[in-house]
């Protein structure tokens, strides 16, 4: 803190003005309040310099969700990088650390995206690696998955994704984020819908009531008749509630009467959704 006071000795801090008798006022730690005083002054002066870059890092440590701080940080980076490209490489390292400490923070993941965008293709592979690390800590981190899809759509690199999804599903076959990603990868690379149903049924062997896998298989059955036939063949006589739910979808056009009967039975088997299943049964007409 003392170093900031010295570094900003020429800057008159601006106090926060919450207006009279504010609500939800936060009793800031003195250090945060002091740093914010300099930051508000910088917002007025528009200074973009190495010391401002340091100030933003100190503030982000107090409050990583401070999007204005991150915005000013990016402006500093872009301004300074025109003279010294290593600034951006350093920033990759620094922000990776912040992302590790704040894995669920919107701002840091957007910051990564903006940074990769600035550097371009050369940063894509490392970004996928960083995201893989984040997903090792939390395999369902929504921001990490969103950024992964963005990197792939923007810079390519899809080829390695099948293996990546397989490993995650081997580790936890109930990971719905990994199933969603697998679906995106297949849509990009192309696949045989029948084969998708077959391999999904194999995974279902050990996780019969896994919604993620059923919904994935049904998506292929919806768009391909042979895949639908393969899934239907499995469901006929299969045990479990999810296979009955799948039957309602698979039979709704070809045999609405039977689909309706199954929906009616599901109103009892899946009592939380009794209302839903009764509505489905009604919509399908009279079952037997």
């Amino acid at each position: 803190m003392a170093s900031f006071a010295a570094a900003f000795a020429d800057v008159a801090p601006i106090e926060q003005d919450d207006g009279p008798a504010p609500v939800c006022a936060i009793a800031y730690a003195p250090e945060y309040a002091r740093l914010m005083g300099f930051f508000r002054a910088i917002l007025e002066s528009n200074e973009r310099s190495p010391r401002v870059l340091e100030l933003t890092a100190a503030l982000a440590e107090h409050n990583a969700a401070h999007y204005t701080v991150w915005h000013v940080r990016r402006e500093c980076l872009w301004a300074l990088a025109s003279n010294d490209a290593s600034i951006l490489t350093d920033e990759l390292r620094y922000s990776a650390e912040v992302a590790r400490e704040n894995p669920k923070n919107y701002q840091i993941w957007y910051h990564r995206r903006a940074l990769v965008e600035k550097i371009g293709q050369a940063a894509a592979a490392d970004e996928l690696a960083l995201i893989s690390t984040a997903l090792r800590d939390d395999a369902k981190n929504y921001h990490a998955w969103s950024n992964r899809l963005w990197v792939l759509k923007t810079y390519g690199g899809w080829a390695g994704e099948l293996e990546f999804c397989t490993a995650l599903l081997d580790a936890d076959v109930y990971n719905n984020s990994a199933w969603n990603h697998l679906y995106q990868v297949k849509a990009q690379l192309g696949c045989d819908p029948v084969e998708e149903v077959r391999s999904t049924l194999e995974r279902l062997n050990h996780a019969r009531e896994n919604e993620s896998a059923w919904v994935y298989a049904l998506a292929f059955a919806k768009s391909d008749e042979r895949a639908a036939a393969a899934l239907l063949a499995h469901c006929e006589g299969a045990e479990g509630v999810r296979s009955q739910m799948a039957l309602v979808e698979l039979l709704k056009t070809s045999d609405p009467g039977r689909a309706s009967t199954i929906a009616r039975r599901l109103a009892e088997l899946d009592a939380t959704r009794a209302r839903y299943w009764r509505r489905r049964a009604e919509g399908l007409g009279n079952g037997t």
């Binding site: 207006g19 939800c24 936060i26 969700a65 939380t272």
Partner: protein
């Protein structure tokens, strides 16, 4: 167990089983089986009424909410860029508990705090912060809860409109702030604010419904961006945007209903945000509101200016006439959900609501658990309410597209519809 051993190990299953067993301890069916001393405490502290029915601990929640308005400890610094959110979470919750309207002093102070957060015609997360759509939405909704002309006049409508336009991205989604992320959250917050302030111009809305629709995935729900996993919070943003824009025909409502019905957990009764994730009380509103909006879309309500009070959002009609519509057919179990909120989400004995047992209370979860409770009590605003536990648990309705009391929404719409077009 079977002999597959490690092959069957799943962190998802382990966490789910743990969560179910913890919740089951709170979801007591028959309170007469609880030891007498404990039962007496539950009644004394207000968790049960005189007939041992689960009770909404109104007094305690109001106390907790007012404490937040009075001031927050340094630990809240992580929300220093979300001040308008804090104001909205707290005063909307107070409004649902019918503890806002008589408090002129608080309303005045809220207006002046929000005024201090104004930036570029919109609102920032705090004084002198960059304009951002999320706090702009929160501030607009907070002003809607307050509902006075003075509150409405805090908004500089032409400047706000320029800000909204400047956030529109080439994808037709909206950017959260200058140099910020584009997603369906930004899109909903922009469209909701524009609807409430009557600036939904053709230029602003062109292509926006298509952007929201493109976020529907093979699961039936919506992700934050096209192709990303279906998620309750983003799903609400997408369907609310589509309802406001009368464009639900662009999406597969059958698939959405199937998805949202599957999000109600069987043992706990609350909603999860995504498939194979844990229950969380805030989704009581995000998912519950989605189910409600979808039901209204099926009935055609968003298209009708004479839609019932509670979902109508277009300005200019104040008649109490309700069209002879087919009743809403619910797809979820409102009693189970309400029991989760009352028994698992209420923090006993201190008050405030939480994500799930084992977590602490916070203003966000208090707001959305109460909003979800209200939504689930009033699935159909033309039919009698469904109330679990004590009859005194009944809350007023909340508008499913904006999450503010419908009469307040009407008041704001009437105010801004009286202003000239831009």
């Amino acid at each position: 167990m079977d002999d597959l051993g490690a092959m069957n190990y799943s962190l998802t299953l382990l966490e789910q089983e743990e969560c179910e067993s913890v919740c089951a301890r709170f979801l007591i069916d028959d309170f007469s089986t609880v030891p007498a001393a404990q039962l007496a405490q539950m009644r004394r502290e207000g968790l049960l009424d005189e007939e041992n029915r689960p009770r909404l601990m109104r007094e305690k929640h109001v106390q907790y909410l007012r404490k937040g308005l009075a001031g927050l400890s340094g630990g809240f610094v992580a929300l220093d860029a979300s001040r308008p959110w804090l104001v909205y979470w707290i005063i909307h919750a107070l409004d649902l508990l019918e503890a806002l309207d008589d408090d002129a002093e608080i309303k005045q102070r809220c207006i002046s705090t929000l005024r201090a957060c104004r930036a570029e015609g919109a609102f920032g997360g705090g004084p002198r912060q960059l304009a951002h759509l999320a706090p702009t939405y929160a501030a607009t909704l907070a002003l809607c809860c307050i509902g006075s002309n003075e509150a409405f006049e805090t908004i500089d409508r032409p400047a706000l409109y320029q800000f909204l336009l400047s956030m529109k991205d080439a994808s037709n989604g909206f950017r959260m702030h200058d140099d910020g992320e584009v997603d369906v959250r930004g899109t909903y917050t922009a469209i909701a604010v524009a609807a409430l302030t009557n600036v939904l111009t053709p230029q602003l809305v062109e292509g926006v419904a298509e952007y929201a629709a493109s976020c529907q995935t093979y699961e039936g729900g919506f992700g934050g961006e096209p192709g990303v996993e279906a998620h309750g919070g983003y799903g609400f943003c997408a369907i609310a945007t589509l309802c406001i824009l009368d464009a639900c025909h662009l999406v597969d409502l059958d698939a959405l209903d199937a998805w949202v019905a599957r999000r109600q957990t069987s043992i706990e009764g609350g909603y999860q945000g995504r498939a194979n994730k844990l229950v969380d009380a805030c989704y009581s509103f995000w998912q519950g509101g989605t189910a409600q909006l979808s039901a209204h879309a099926r009935r055609g309500d968003p298209h009708h200016i004479e839609a019932p009070q509670g979902v109508r959002w277009r300005p200019g009609t104040t008649s109490a006439d309700v069209p002879a519509a087919t009743p809403i057919q619910e797809i979820v179990d409102p009693i189970k959900l309400q029991r989760y909120i009352l028994l698992c989400a209420q923090v006993f004995p201190d008050g405030g609501l939480r994500d799930k047992p084992g977590k602490g209370r916070d203003y966000y979860h208090t707001c959305y658990a109460l909003s979800g409770l209200s939504a689930s009590q009033h699935p159909d605003c033309t039919a009698p309410a469904t109330v679990s536990g004590s009859p005194a648990n009944l809350l007023p309705r909340t508008h499913p597209a904006f999450n503010c009391r419908p009469e307040k929404v009407s008041r704001m719409l009437d105010h801004f519809s009286g202003l000239p077009d831009l």
